[in-house]
Amino acid sequence: MFSTLSVEAERATTDIKSADIVIGIPSFNNAKTIGHVVKACYAGLFKYFPQMSSVVINSDGGSTDGTREAVLTASVDEKSLMVLSTPLFPIHRLSVPYHGIPGKGSAFRTIFEMARRLGARACAVVDADLRSITPEWIDLLLRPILLANYEFVAPYYHRHKYDGTITNSIVYPLTRMLYGSQVRQPIGGDFGVSARVIDCYLRKDVWETDVARFGIDIWMTTVAIAEGFRTCQSFLGAKLHDAKDPASDLRAMLQQVVGSIFELMDTYEPTWSRRSESVTVPVFGFCFDVGLEPIAVDVDGMLREFQRGARELGEVWSLALTPTTFQEIKKVAGASEIAGEFHLSDSLWARIVLEFSVAYKAHPLLRGQLLGSLTPLYLGRVASFVYETRMMTSREVEDRIESLCVTFESLKPYLAQLWRGRGESKDTHLEVKNV
């Protein structure tokens, strides 16, 4: 059988033979932070799973800053952990390069492949640039799988109200509306998965697509939910991470994430078309308030970009949007000239996203253009959201996001109608419920 593992990874898997737990850390030039992440993983395994054999695998994309050395040299003072029981097995630590398209998805593929070969019962993946990871994260991501028969553990963080705007304005509402599962951080980046879920992931032929890049997180979450695996969330506190991503920009990130969601909508149409309501997903861990780093947002810049998009990109937007929605956008863009009066409503935003998803399906040759033209609309929505929530507390903002999700859910029949019409909405003048 063709192996996707590098020679080093193959050899390491053969040497170690088996493990109950695998923790994966994808990396690319994360020398500054990965040592801390490895220590946290090591301490977590030492403290919470002393009876189980475990491996920490760093899957690296060719770092040149000594990331792999940092992984192998990071050490934990075991005495300082004050554990009650001595581990029965040594905790292995590996750093291996991955094959395939450069990106987080390819790194995950190597980790999952190794976990399967080692016969791991549970696997957790955490980002290499985390600064707020603690040993408890390992416990919270793995215990629901090992002891409570859950198969997919999504993270649940406290985030600043302007942090994670793609999640808050597109990914969470859309995933919740489609698959009926209220997983709050579908692209959180830190997950726990069972052996069955790993098998399921590795069977899919998606590793040469956008899934291999930024699309991996939403793909993992969607597959787990849509294929009916038992899902839960674990409260991990705050997510603070190192600020760098050398190979990306907002456009590419948005394209990969949104493109993956739209692609999955096509794949799982029979699943989402049957689900009509969303249900809450249990949250493990002790929830507490945390201090969050403030985030500076250039809202005027976003608004300018939206206005520029409205002036320039009408030709592409009109391919995706119904005339009603298109006219509304033009109206909103016109009104945005008056400072402080800019407002892109939940209903309009939801229709934009849904109509783009239908156009993505209907025009396979124009997908790149459609996704490329979505960025200014997204920035317009974020600007509107920032204006609206400027004086709100985090809790109030969470209520606003809940209200957006409800709007998305109320528009599901509209989506179904558009989807069935296979893009003929322009002629049929669909009724949009007032929400």
Partner: protein
């Protein structure tokens, strides 16, 4: 005198009779053929409208973007196109068959020229259609790219690409049809040369200092703060 007039009149009548007996049957036959062709074409069009739903072709046309080129409003249907093509093809064939009834050199030459031209016309039409599709596609790519790269006037750039690509397609089609070949080629060369000259002058005169500055001090990668802002989106 009266005999002469009678002879002339008889001659005229004879000629009229001869021409009537020679050409009238052909003319009637031609009319019948054309009328039949018209009837068949109308019937075919009606049948096609009724039985051919065109759902698959409509979808294909929409997905490929051809429908948008032919009719940006999105109202045009494949059924209409197919039915109208069938209608006009049958009618044209009927007219040609009708003309062939006369059996003269002129009609034979006319028919021959037309028949020989059909495949070339079809190919030229395909070239123009493909060019139109490509021009729209590349123009939109340019538009999105130029917008993303923050270039000034993305729509104008897109329009320039659209005109250029479509013009190239027209030149190729006219070359294929052997129609005003030199005119189109010359116009194309003048346009391209003019464009290159304009860009050179614009760069040389208008943007030389900017280019010099760019070469001297290329733009730096985003600062840490800018990079950080990317992460806050996910």
């Amino acid at each position: 005198m009266s005999e002469t007039i009678t002879a002339i009149l008889e001659g005229v009548l004879d000629r009229l009779q001869f021409q009537a007996t020679t050409y009238l049957p052909s003319l009637i036959a031609a009319f019948i053929v054309i009328a039949l062709a018209l009837g068949i074409s109308v019937a075919t069009r009606r049948i096609l409208y009724r039985i051919f739903k065109g759902a698959t072709i409509d979808r294909l046309m929409r997905r490929s973007g051809v429908a948008h080129i032919l009719d940006p409003s999105g109202r045009l249907r494949a059924t209409t196109i197919v039915a109208e093509i069938a209608y006009w093809s049958i009618l044209a064939l009927g007219i040609l068959a009708g003309l062939s009834v006369f059996g003269t050199d002129l009609t034979a030459q006319l028919i021959q020229t037309f028949v020989l031209l059909i495949p070339r016309l079809v190919i030229a039409a395909v070239i123009v259609l493909a060019g139109a599709w490509l021009s729209h596609y590349l123009a939109r790519c340019t538009l999105v790219w130029a917008f993303g790269e923050q270039l000034p006037h993305p729509r104008r750039l897109a329009a320039a690409v659209r005109v250029m690509v479509f013009f190239v397609a027209t030149v190729v089609a006219s070359d294929h049809l052997d129609f005003a070949r030199n005119v189109f080629l010359t116009a194309f060369v003048i346009l391209l040369g003019g464009l290159v000259l304009a860009v050179s002058l614009a760069l040389g005169i208008g943007a030389s200092s900017r280019v010099r500055g760019y070469l001297k001090d290329p733009p730096k990668r985003p600062t840490t703060q800018e990079e950080r802002s990317l992460w806050t989106h996910l």
